[in-house]
């Protein structure tokens, strides 16, 4: 035991010597939470609108005023020719153009049909469709105001209740994602690099001839990263509660328990990588690119996995972070108990066991 502890201390010294890396490891969660919390949003604000109004009557003026009064929309230019829109889009000066037809008011009152064209820059499909949605709603509201004298014979009013996240804050979705990403980064990436480094430098041989069993050497290597990960989870949770106002609705103990399980999975992935590659460069590239990028993109952290084509959705099932993120969302945001995350916990347990068996087997094979 004493030997083991001195091994762990050695590893701690090893890591603490490189101050810059430690600073980055502790800083990444803070920067991510701040960026995701404040800067990264798909909400569409500051919409720049161009208007072409050949009719210039009281109805179109009323509609334009109503559009301009909206807090998200600024009418930036009133254009004289519909052809000017193209160049406004190309120069990136407008996001949407509203084009009224001739004699708008007359058409509206007499034939009951007056038309408006909404032209948006469709380069970014998401922004474009949210934008047209906004403007359509405002036009509908304007129409209702103009039509007060007509009573609509039928109406069904939907009452909308947003469960768990009434403010529709993005933070509820990405905090669990950031947790998954950071644990993966520290446990899988750092562990694999630090083991391969010993191999590359030849110091692994020295360790292996010591009276310690190889398994303890590996465990001793993993412990400092486990401690670092715990500090990071605490940082993330504190920031999310006190800075982003995302409360932890469920059991904190359960949350930590699941996180430890995920840390175990990530550590075994790191161990597995270290048995496959020979050099530090390869370890870094394998964990940094081959592992991290799919984790970011296929875990449901940014992009919903159920939208993906069937084959790709199948691939997402083997990404451990996906199951961890689902767990964290259920416990932290929805406040559900252990029975609701049984499936996810089971999957993570199976992954941990399988990875551990494979990597220990490979690790032992290489020693002979």
């Amino acid at each position: 035991m004493k030997q083991f502890l001195s091994f762990v201390t050695k590893e701690f010294y090893h890591i603490a010597r490189d101050k810059r890396t430690i600073l980055i490891l502790l800083g990444i969660p803070i920067v991510q939470i701040i960026l995701f919390g404040f800067a990264i949003t798909t909400e569409v604000k500051d919409i720049r609108m161009a208007v072409f109004d050949p009719s210039k009557d009281e109805v179109t003026q009323k509609i334009i005023d109503k559009l301009d009064a909206n807090e998200y929309i600024n009418v930036v230019s009133v254009i004289d020719h519909p052809e000017d829109i193209e160049s406004a889009f190309r120069k990136g000066k407008a996001d949407i153009a509203v084009i009224f037809n001739q004699h708008f008011s007359d058409n509206y009152r007499h034939t009951g049909e007056a038309s408006v064209q909404l032209i948006t820059d469709g380069t970014d499909p998401n922004t474009a469709s949210i934008l047209t949605g906004y403007v359509t709603n405002i036009l509908m509201a304007a129409q209702q105001e103009i039509n007060v004298q007509y009573k609509s014979p039928l109406s069904i009013t939907p009452e909308v209740k947003l469960l768990y996240n009434p403010g529709m804050k993005g933070a509820y979705n990405f905090v669990p994602g950031v947790m998954g990403l950071i644990l993966m980064l520290i446990c899988a990436m750092m562990t694999s690099i630090s083991i391969v480094r010993e191999k590359e430098m030849g110091t692994m041989e020295v360790l292996l001839v010591s009276p310690m069993k190889p398994i303890y050497i590996i465990v001793a290597k993993a412990i400092p990263y486990l401690v670092l990960s715990c500090i990071n989870i605490i940082t993330i949770l504190l920031l999310s509660v006190y800075v982003l106002n995302v409360p932890v609705a469920g059991s904190l103990t359960l949350l930590f328990g699941i996180s430890l399980l995920f840390i175990l999975v990530s550590l075994t992935i790191g161990l597995l990588i270290s048995t496959i590659v020979k050099t530090q460069v390869a370890a870094m590239l394998a964990s940094g690119m081959v592992l991290m990028l799919p984790t970011i993109l296929l875990s449901g952290m940014i992009y919903p996995t159920e939208n993906m084509p069937f084959l790709l959705e199948c691939i997402t099932h083997i990404i451990p972070a996906k199951w961890y993120i689902i767990c964290v969302k259920k416990i932290m945001v929805e406040g559900l108990g252990f029975t609701f995350v049984l499936k996810e916990v089971g999957i993570l347990l199976v992954m941990a066991t399988v990875l551990l068996i494979i990597s220990l087997k490979k690790f032992n094979d290489r020693l002979e």
């Binding site: 980055i24 800083g27 009152r109 014979p153 993005g170």
Partner: protein, 371 residues
């Protein structure tokens, strides 16, 4: 002199069997997978209907919802508790509750209510899902107006605004067309940024840098020789990307390919130079890797690649002005989708040129022959 140095760099890159394979396989793999994954469109929303009314109208509404492209009907029951359990299990995303007196109210007073409860853990999904559902309900109201209300009532026409919507540059709102040019930026950043970042510090760790330091090689020549291989690698990577975008996704740039190659030239030099700067300041490869990771993460998130820059707060928008990735993403999307030419892109091109000169000068200055 420089010829031999470049030859040496290539030998070093190709001696490690992992790197050449990565340079070819990574872009192919990513181009085949990422465009399918990076999709923010919301579809296939799982809908649970709680029908407390069991009337002709409520069944009609259920059918209409089931027929919609946006929704997948998971279950219909008359228990809200069952529905909530289904949401908690993750089987349903949104609940539509039809109240017990739905049809009666509609016939008697012409007004009735519907309750929508959406799981908003993912705020965008919850919000969009409930607004799709609301607009489906509006359609349904129009349907019954047309079909079931007696013709004489229809005579008092309510005037309405006819809205026509047009999407320029990407009429079918194809998310892949939007993401693929930007994903190429990401690939180039990763490959041509990380590899140089590990380069000089790698030589430091191995000790081979000492041998260079005792030769009369100038700092400038040394850095140029380090950068040129990545430049060639960058061209290879982008060509693979073009090929795959055209073959697999049928996506060709509307603008000229030469415009893109010009920008790629500037950008690869910038990002590789940045990698070398980090390499110069690092003591170990591990350190270089993490410092690079830290910066690339921030640069990518603040580049407009994933989320629009317009919706960022003012302070973040100012930061993006100093981000070379932002300009490269803008150029790629403009050339691919809008067909912009060099003249349209002068602000972006000049910004990248300034970055290239500044960063590479820094790489030369920060490289110390004596430790």
């Amino acid at each position: 002199m420089i010829k031999y140095l470049i030859e040496k760099e290539f030998k070093q890159i190709f001696r490690n069997s992992f790197i050449p394979r990565l340079i070819i396989a990574y872009p192919i793999f990513m181009m085949l997978i990422l465009p399918w994954a990076a999709d923010l469109e919301i579809k296939n929303i799982n809908l649970y209907i709680v029908d407390n009314n069991h009337s002709q109208y409520s069944r009609q509404l259920t059918q209409k919802a089931a027929a919609s492209d946006y929704f997948r009907l998971t279950d219909v029951s008359s228990s809200y508790d069952e529905a909530i359990k289904s949401v908690e299990r993750g089987d349903a995303d949104i609940i539509m509750e039809i109240p017990a007196n739905f049809e009666q109210d509609l016939i008697k007073s012409g007004n009735t209510k519907l309750l929508i409860s959406a799981n908003a853990v993912n705020g965008t999904k919850g919000g969009l899902g409930s607004s799709y559902l609301s607009s489906m309900i509006t359609d349904f109201t129009a349907d019954i107006k047309d079909k079931w209300i007696q013709p004489q009532k229809k005579e008092a026409i309510t005037p309405s605004i006819k809205i026509e919507t047009q999407y320029r540059f990407n009429p079918h709102l194809d998310y892949k067309a939007f993401m693929i040019p930007a994903l190429m930026v990401m690939l180039l950043t990763i490959l041509c940024g990380f590899l140089p970042a590990l380069n000089i510090v790698g030589e430091k760790e191995k000790g081979t840098i000492e041998q260079i330091n005792v030769t009369p090689v100038k700092k400038f020549t040394f850095i140029i020789a380090k950068i040129i291989p990545y430049w060639i690698i960058g061209f290879m990577v982008i060509t693979i990307c073009f090929g795959l975008a055209a073959l697999v996704y049928g996506l060709m740039p509307i603008g000229h390919l030469s415009t893109i190659y010009l920008i790629v030239l500037l950008y690869v030099l910038t990002i590789s130079g940045f990698g070398l700067v980090i390499s110069n300041y690092s003591d170990t490869m591990q350190q270089a890797m993490f410092v690079m990771w830290f910066f690339v993460l921030i640069l990518m998130l603040l580049s407009g690649l994933f989320t629009p820059i317009n919706s960022m707060p003012h302070w973040a928008q100012i930061i993006t002005d100093f981000n070379p990735l932002k300009y490269f993403v803008q150029v790629m999307r403009a050339v691919y989708l809008k067909g912009s030419g060099i003249m349209d892109l002068i602000p972006q091109i000049s910004a990248l040129m300034i970055f290239m000169v500044l960063i590479n000068s820094w790489a030369v200055v920060s490289y110390r022959k004596k430790s």
